[in-house]
Structures are given as C-alpha cells and as structure tokens.
Symmetry: C2
Subunit: 140 residues, 2 copies
C-alpha cells in the first residue's frame, strides 16, 4: 500500500485520516464513484461525511492525485493518477478495467500534439462494451 500521508504532504495538503482513508479505498478498488467511496469509507470511519468526500475529490484532482473517469450513461468514477492507460467500461454493470496503452496510442498522441491550434495536455481513451461476467449473465 502506498504511503498516502507522504503523497498528500508533498502536495501541501494535510494528511488527515479522512484523506488517507479515501485514497486507500480508491487504491484498493481501482475505480469508484462518490457513492462507492462513501459506502466503503464509512465502514471504517462511520462519521466521515459526504461533504468531506466532495471537497477532497475536488482538491485532490487539482493536485493531480486523483483523476476523474467520466462515463457515458453513468456517474463519474475516480482513480489514482497514474501513467497513461485506457479503460474498458462495461455498459451493463459499470465496471472499469485499466488496459495498458498500445504503441499506436503513443503515435497518435504525438501526432496530435503537433496540431498548432490545440495545446494537448491529456488523453482519455475509453472503450465501451460488455465485460466477461455480464456476457455470461446475458447468455443464460
């Protein structure tokens, strides 16, 4: 488990129990909506409030600790900021799975960063479909 207290301090944020807790559950589960986080985190720290989660998600995004993964037809999920990757998103159950970028994605990104009229900062490649579990469920 990463040392989130240090990570927070490096970004000039105080390492409160709440923040570390939020980051730990996100690390553990990978991709979580605000509500997912709330449910998990209150198991350990029942008084942790939704307002605190909202405030911190915003703050941690500003500090590039968290990244939002907006999803068509569902609520956004949040993940720890990490090296560029793609997402498999299940349109049935909403599960998000990371997928390493292929070589071609770098080619594309590089080519697009040449575009003079748009200063490219970040890419997000989201692949929608049906995950293994839901395929099995559908079949039956």
């Amino acid at each position: 488990m990463r040392d989130f207290a240090v990570l927070l301090k490096e970004n000039g944020l105080k390492a409160t129990f709440q923040r570390v807790n939020i980051l730990e559950v996100i690390e553990k589960h990978g991709h979580m909506s605000v509500e997912d986080i709330y449910e998990e985190v209150t198991k350990v720290h029942p008084s942790l409030s939704l307002a605190t989660i909202y405030k911190n998600i915003i703050l941690m995004q500003e500090n590039a600790i968290l990244t939002e993964v907006p999803i068509a037809g569902k609520k956004s999920k949040y993940e720890l900021a990490k090296a560029d990757h793609m997402h498999f998103i299940c349109t049935e159950c909403g599960t998000v799975e990371d997928k390493m970028c292929l070589d071609q994605t770098d080619v594309i990104f590089h080519q697009l960063s040449e575009e003079k009229h748009f200063k490219l900062k970040q890419r997000q490649v989201n692949l929608y479909g049906i995950c293994e579990k839901c395929q099995i469920k559908e079949a039956s």
Copy 2:
C-alpha cells in the same frame, strides 16, 4: 439540414415539434449540454420544458440518434450519432471539437476487439487541452 422527422419515425418515435427542434439545435451547435439545449430551444419554443429535454435525450440515446460525450470536470454534452471520431475538449471553456480518427485508431480498435474477455462495442477518444481562443486569452 437533415430531415429529423424521418429519422425519428424510422426509429419508431413520433416526430413532435419538440424533438425535431432539439435535434436541430444540436446539429447546429455540434455539442450541447442539457442546459445549452434548453436555452437555445426555448428561444424558438418558449414553453418547451426541461423535463421534455431530459426524457428525450434518454430516449434518443437508446435509439442511437444521440450520443453522450461525458467530460471530466464538466457536464456531459450530447451530439448527433455519427461515424467514429475523436474529441478535442478545452479544459478552460469546455468547447468540444470533432477530429477525424487517424488510421492508427482503427488498428487499435481492431486489435482490442480480439480480446476475448471484453465484447467491445464503442470507443471514445477524448483529448483534453487548451483551445486556440483560450491560448490567446491566457497569453494576454
């Protein structure tokens, strides 16, 4: 301007003034949030309600007439369903611009559709950065 009445009927939906109107403003502006649509559409048809927009956006997505473009840090926008393309999204002003897919995106998509554990349906490549206008604004 496309004949949206026909498009709606092809999908088994009644061609109401409201629906055609919603589709026309989206066609004209390219990418619009619910609120954008409401503001535009009420200029022509002041009594058109938000509830109608919400109901129809859902319905038209189910019928593959509209596509949601979810955007990190901003509200989703909606566009007419069309051939695969990428989006340049300005993180300052929220403007969305379409960008044709490069050849490599097809290679990637094809390669990923071989993955046995995920039945790939749709891709969404979103490129975040600063648009020309906002670059100029920043510089000054």
